[in-house]
Symmetry: C2
Subunit: 338 residues, 2 copies
């Protein structure tokens, strides 16, 4: 099949690789209808993570089940499914406790920007739609593979409550989905920290009541003003850098929690400040499957449209151009059509 592969920093290609196949009886193979590029794909693209030359890249997709293993009970060829980037069995103690991203049989989608993807633990991982979705629903369904549940997880981890004030640090697709999550959960004030006009517009469409364009100390001061000097009831850290984490703790009110979902790179947590202010930290890799039933219902009922984060679409053959757009911040998030 044709799949996106990475060979070195900034060297993205479309290569012919072996078709994924059912290797274990709990596997399924999905024919990809749409995949996309994740902010975390930019870490190896920018040389900030190691690259295994020639390896496939891309962990987000939706598609149609092509083949299932002998032990897969809940899905069959032809089903349209959302594929969580993190595969889980749904039956281990961690899954039963809602920590699906620490499943003892954890797996990952490894060829989401490709023609086919293998899904381990298909029964525990996949969620099917009622019949084939309308083409217009594809972006929002695709957003359920990672970016929307990740923003949702930040909001859950931060303890967002109805009527509260929430600050979202990061205006990437995850941050924007964090805004959407906080607004959907009933937060009264949702402050998006963003200085990019197109992203500010989506943040407002997703329910942001305030936009703070300043960064660092000035940004924190602006949030303090919005919160009458108190700080935010919940903060979503959706970047993963030390600067973003610093801003998150600077705007969090005493006793609140920073929910973090950006893969940490070079982050040093301010443990003394956390102690003195009683500001907690929770989150991590999103347990996507845990949230999918609720989020799928929100999407199919039209209550949320996270697919708006896709502002560019490329054919698989042009995937390198999609990486370039995201790297240059010309696109928020790029959808890839095999």
């Amino acid at each position: 099949m044709r799949a996106t592969t990475i060979h070195a920093p900034r060297d993205i290609r479309v290569s012919e690789v072996d078709d994924p196949r059912v290797e274990l009886p709990t596997d399924a193979v999905v024919k990809v209808v749409a995949g996309c590029i994740c902010g975390s794909d930019l870490w190896p693209y920018r040389g900030e993570n190691d690259v295994v030359p020639g390896s496939t890249i891309g962990h987000e997709c939706v598609g149609v089940v092509e083949e299932v293993g002998d032990e897969v009970r809940s899905f069959r060829p032809g089903d349209f499914v959302v594929v969580p980037f993190d595969h889980c069995d749904g039956t281990c103690p961690h899954c039963l406790a809602g920590a699906h991203s620490a499943c003892v049989n954890l797996g990952m989608t490894t060829s989401g920007q490709a023609e086919y993807a293998r899904v381990t633990q298909a029964d525990g991982s996949l969620v099917a739609t009622d019949g084939m979705p309308d083409e217009s629903m594809i972006p929002s369904l695709l957003a359920l593979a990672d970016v929307m549940p990740t923003g949702w997880h930040a909001a859950v981890a931060a303890g967002v409550r109805e009527g509260g004030t929430v600050v979202v640090v990061g205006d990437g697709a995850v941050g924007l989905c964090g805004v959407l999550a906080a607004a959907t959960m009933g937060a009264e004030k949702v402050v998006a920290m963003s200085r990019h006009e197109p992203r500010q517009a989506i943040a407002r469409a997703f329910g942001a009541t305030h936009v703070v364009a300043e960064r660092g100390k000035e940004g924190a001061a602006a949030v303090k003003e919005i919160t009458q000097g108190v700080g935010a009831d919940a903060v979503l850290e959706c970047v993963g850098t030390d600067q973003a984490m610093g801003t998150a703790f600077a705007v969090a009110r005493p006793g609140s929690t920073v929910g973090f979902v950006g893969v940490p790179h070079g982050v040093e947590l301010p443990v003394r400040r956390m102690f003195q202010k009683n500001v907690g930290l929770a989150g991590g890799m999103a347990p996507v499957r845990r949230y999918l039933p609720e989020l799928l219902e929100l999407v199919t009922s039209g209550r949320i449209d996270p697919g708006r984060v896709f502002d560019s679409t490329v054919a698989l053959d042009d995937v390198a151009e999609g990486y370039r757009q995201m790297d240059q911040r010309e696109a928020i998030k790029v959808l890839v059509r095999p």
Copy 2:
């Protein structure tokens, strides 16, 4: 008055200092009936915190109100009171949200090992007993000034629930109170990590169902066995060192929270592990006043007896001996009688 003063590491004296007095109309002065030495007093004693030569030391006491300022409404001379080490107004946004230890009018007891102590924000801070308590109740009431609410805070921050498995890292007085808190909250398994026999005995008396004497990797392995490989539902970190924090994260199950109350010294939080395992961190300086009504009721009804952590009593004149006992781990916690 006579008060404990510190002049250099290991140089503890009893000195004649000015009597505390009502400086603001919201102040009270308390005649100390009993004070005590805190594990955190050992940081300057051991030279790990800076010392201001000649400054008073000691932040825990109970006693009788001697004098109140003009604006103090709820207390009058003669009342027996528990004095939270952290004073708070009870009316600011942080107090109203339960984050009393971040009160905008935060104050601290500064002469708990002395004849008198000044309490700022008396109305918001103090809690009185019904009449003069029996002499036998003094240790448990004194424990409410800091050590018991601090252990309780660790349990609250860690999200201890009925039926859960809780690990307590640290067998100092706070850790032992954490065991008592977890057991009182209904945890089914309470694992005390302790290798000191007298402390193990108190831990068991406080409700520990398991004692793990091993440390580091062996200790974590022992906890894994107790929890059938899953890890603890909640972990209380009651030390403040990097090693203790490392152990706490090593035994926490995915999706759980480490509640921390040991003042961090040299702690580097394992942010990647926290992310990968979705293990959160919450806690900090205890909002003592928040818990006092509930804890006072538990003490006066005889349901808990946190005063058992005091295994040594010294007269104020012998306070240096008390520091020596705690430093040498000859005593768990030393009560000081002015």
